[in-house]
């Protein structure tokens, strides 16, 4: 009854894909999950770029450039329940360390000051522009489920998914919550 399976899309913004890696640690649950849900797109297991209408949208990473903003907004439009995976998506995470400096200053320091003479600040139009601040997901879009952790452990990820499949909105208690 493939048509009744809930559809899931996952996406990674500016992050290390560590949350997706941690998700793969659920081991044999992946097999069960494959029977319970249908993955519409997920960069770790399939090569689909477009996000279509899904039931559950899962996002990892910080919003740091205009592409991230676009993907996040598209995900919000296309999913019923949006899940933030990991510290980056929930709070901003390690990427927010760039918020201590202005964007221009950071680019200058990375590509000019701490590089060789031929290096230039990349300005190709295909390269997404950095936002002025690195932000957590909920500063751009509404988030329904927060699963913090760096990364959240496989058990916590599994707990979150199981609750969602049972039709509940999971909330981590103090034993499951880790930053």
């Amino acid at each position: 009854m493939a048509e009744n399976k809930p559809k899931v899309a996952t996406a990674c913004m500016c992050g290390c894909s560590g949350c997706h890696m941690s998700f793969l640690d659920v081991d044999e649950f992946v097999k069960d999950l494959a029977e319970l849900v249908e993955f519409q797109s997920s960069h770790v297991i399939m090569d689909v770029k477009e996000i279509e209408k899904v039931d559950i949208g899962i996002m990892e990473g910080t919003i740091t450039n205009d592409e991230n903003v676009e993907v996040a907004k598209k995900m919000r439009e296309n999913c019923d329940i949006l899940v933030a995976w990991g510290d980056c998506a929930c709070f901003g995470g390690i990427m927010t360390m760039r918020n201590f400096e202005k964007v221009d200053k950071i680019l200058e320091e990375c590509y000019l000051e701490k590089s060789d003479e031929e290096s230039v600040v990349p300005d190709d139009e295909l390269i997404p522009t950095l936002t002025d601040k690195a932000k957590g997901l909920d500063e751009i879009i509404d988030v329904d489920v927060y699963i913090p952790g760096c990364p959240p452990s496989a058990d916590v990820i599994r707990y979150g998914l199981e609750k969602l499949l049972e039709g509940e909105i999971p909330k981590l208690d103090k034993d499951k919550l880790r930053y």
Partner: protein, 618 residues
């Protein structure tokens, strides 16, 4: 009536009058979240996290609220929880907390409370203020990014250590912990006691020697006694897979406030000297490695064929080690001495001569904090007995007058009311003080005459008068004699002064274990045929080096390679402070237990067994 009855969360409880609501609740197993409150420190009600609902209307911090009859306290209402979550989030957003790479991840009180309050999202945007990291100190890193301004470190530095190095500076959002007048920690008046990092609830102040070695919650913890000096501080040693992660003070509820000093907290972890694994024999310019049993043979061979044997032990050993060593050395007819025992012998001799009774000696060093005046001979105790020094500093903060007498710079310069610098013999000064007290109202002019008769004195009559006046007007004064005063005449005059004025005396020596007072020691041959030195963990002791130089053959038993072991003819492995087991006696005469923390990593498992064997081989 001394008890009051009130109600907490529907439960009737009674508590002693004068207690805070928080203390009373904790006594009855009701936990209230807190960040700035610490049991060793005064309450300042800074974080407001412990706020409770009083009589259904007011919200007041429970650490500052005294128990009273008929109070109705609620500690866990939804309203309070919401309020606490907001406080936690505001604290978090005001600084830069990154749990994923913070040293204190897993050992952080702020993090624990955020978990407890199930904070998985933020309502307010974060601030990202720019704060510096100060890593100028040898042992301590101060990272303002993790600092929640609870002020525990500031209070610990003031109330417990009495050093006033840390304080709060700046206003509003620029409020921060500053060191002295805003200097780096490494260039400050910091005594490196590490009390600040022990009380820090987050990762704002942490030790370079313990960082990223392990989460304390996952470590094994053993309570033992520090052997470094005669204060006998209790220590909690955290170990993971047989390695020491961190050392903390254990006596949080005692007057010492759980403080340790550099020697108790950092030095044992900083000591990276190479451990001695085998016996080393240096013969005819050659260096040979021997097994322990061969070393035992060689040592006994040298001891058996010699007549003039000097045995000298470190004072930082357990009572059992000292007994075993003394027994083995006596069996070979050696003269036996321990670091610090010489001073004790002089003291006993002088006491007997001037008929000074034990009642003149302070039985509990914490009495220092109750004294009206302190007369301190030799300020080097600032470094050799840091905990005692902290009591002196705390006393001066509470109005006790401090006069210091030292040959060199006064190390208590910013605490003493009067510093007298006089080169040895200090006895001249004390003698004049005695004379003035004995002869009644000698004027300063008379004194000048006396000092000119005595000739060539550097004592200023004014100094003498000042000490006399101070001692005469006070009701409770304590004379502290540092461990560097080892001439009989100085001791005699100081003791006479104490007797004359009815002052109490604290007399310090180099030994960490005051068991030396019960041991029979007699001083050693200065130029022995064989010198046997049980150095343990001790390094660079000048008198040990001198003895080796003068001996025909020298045996050094040491845990690590040091200058001493390089000089010796025969080097035998020994144990470190944390590999010993037994008892030690502190300055108050209290016997404390020393636990084995780590398995011996050198070339010897038991020194006591080794000495038992050695005693038999004669």
């Amino acid at each position: 009536m001394n008890t009051v009855n009130f109600n907490v969360d529907g439960q009737d409880i009674s508590a002693k009058k004068g207690m805070t609501v928080m203390e009373a609740c904790e006594e009855h197993g009701i936990t209230i979240p807190k960040l700035c409150q610490h049991e060793a420190l005064e309450n300042v009600m800074a974080c407001r996290l412990c706020s409770v609902e009083v009589n259904g209307k007011q919200i007041l911090p429970s650490c500052g609220l005294q128990v009273d009859d008929g109070l109705k306290i609620q500690t866990q209402t939804d309203h309070l929880k919401k309020y606490r979550r907001k406080i936690l989030e505001l604290i978090y957003r005001s600084e830069n907390h990154y749990c994923m790479f913070c040293e204190s991840d897993g050992d952080c009180e702020l993090q624990d409370l955020m978990y407890e309050h199930e904070i998985d999202r933020f309502e307010f945007p974060r601030m990202y203020p720019e704060w510096p990291v100060d890593s100028s100190h040898d042992y301590i890193i101060k990272d303002s990014n993790r600092c929640i301004r609870c002020g525990r470190c500031v209070r610990a530095c003031d109330e417990v250590v009495g050093n006033h190095t840390l304080s709060l500076g700046g206003r509003g959002i620029n409020n921060r912990i500053i060191v002295d007048a805003g200097v780096p920690l490494g260039e400050s008046t910091c005594t490196s006691c590490g009390m600040c990092l022990q009380v820090c609830p987050t990762g704002a102040i942490f030790s370079k020697l313990s960082m990223f070695k392990g989460v304390k919650k996952e470590c094994d913890m053993t309570t033992t006694t520090c052997l470094s000096c005669s204060m006998g501080c209790g220590t909690n040693v955290y170990t993971k897979t047989g390695h020491i992660v961190e050392i903390e003070g254990a006596d949080i509820h005692k007057e010492s406030g759980g403080q340790l000093c550099e020697f108790g907290r950092f030095k044992p972890l900083a000591n990276k000297g190479e451990r001695i694994k085998n016996v080393i024999l240096r013969e005819d310019g050659e260096e040979k490695e021997l097994s322990l049993s061969e070393g035992l043979e060689k040592a006994s061979e040298m001891l058996v064929k010699s007549y003039r044997i000097s045995a000298y032990a470190s004072g930082d050993l357990t009572c059992e080690d000292l007994d075993a060593f003394a027994y083995a050395m006596r069996a070979h007819g050696a003269l036996f001495d321990v670091v610090g025992a010489k001073r004790h012998r002089f003291e006993t001799e002088v006491k007997r001569r001037i008929n000074m009774i034990e009642g003149h000696f302070v039985t509990d060093i914490r009495e220092i904090m109750k004294a009206d005046n302190i007369l301190l001979y030799d300020t080097s105790i600032y470094h050799t007995h840091p905990i005692l020094a902290s009591y002196i500093r705390r006393a001066t903060s509470n109005g006790t007058k401090l006069i210091t007498i030292d040959a060199y710079e006064d190390k208590f310069w910013n605490h003493s009311d009067k510093s007298i610098t006089i080169e040895s013999p200090k006895t001249q000064l004390t003698r004049l003080v005695n004379q003035v007290i004995k002869e009644g109202k000698a004027s300063i002019e008379d004194l000048s005459r006396v000092s000119s008769i005595l000739g060539g004195l550097r004592v200023h009559p004014k100094d003498v008068m000042e000490i006399v006046n101070l001692l005469e007007e006070a009701t409770y004064d304590i004379i502290i004699i540092g461990d560097e005063i080892i001439d009989r005449w100085s001791l005699r005059h100081i003791f006479e002064l104490a007797k004359l004025e009815g002052s109490y005396v604290i007399s310090l020596n180099h030994a960490g274990n005051q068991y030396i007072k019960n041991l029979e020691t007699e001083g050693v041959y200065e130029e022995p045929e064989v010198a046997y030195i049980l150095a343990g963990d001790e390094e660079d002791q000048a008198d040990m080096k001198e003895l080796i130089e003068k001996a025909d053959f020298s045996i050094v038993q040491s845990a690590r390679r040091s200058e001493l072991t390089e000089m010796a003819d025969l080097v035998i492995p020994s144990l470190t402070m944390f590999e010993r087991e037994g008892t030690t006696i502190d300055i108050n005469g209290v016997k404390n237990k020393v636990e084995r923390i780590t398995e011996p990593k050198g070339g010897i498992r038991s020194e006591i067994g080794f000495f038992e064997e050695l005693a038999k081989m004669r």
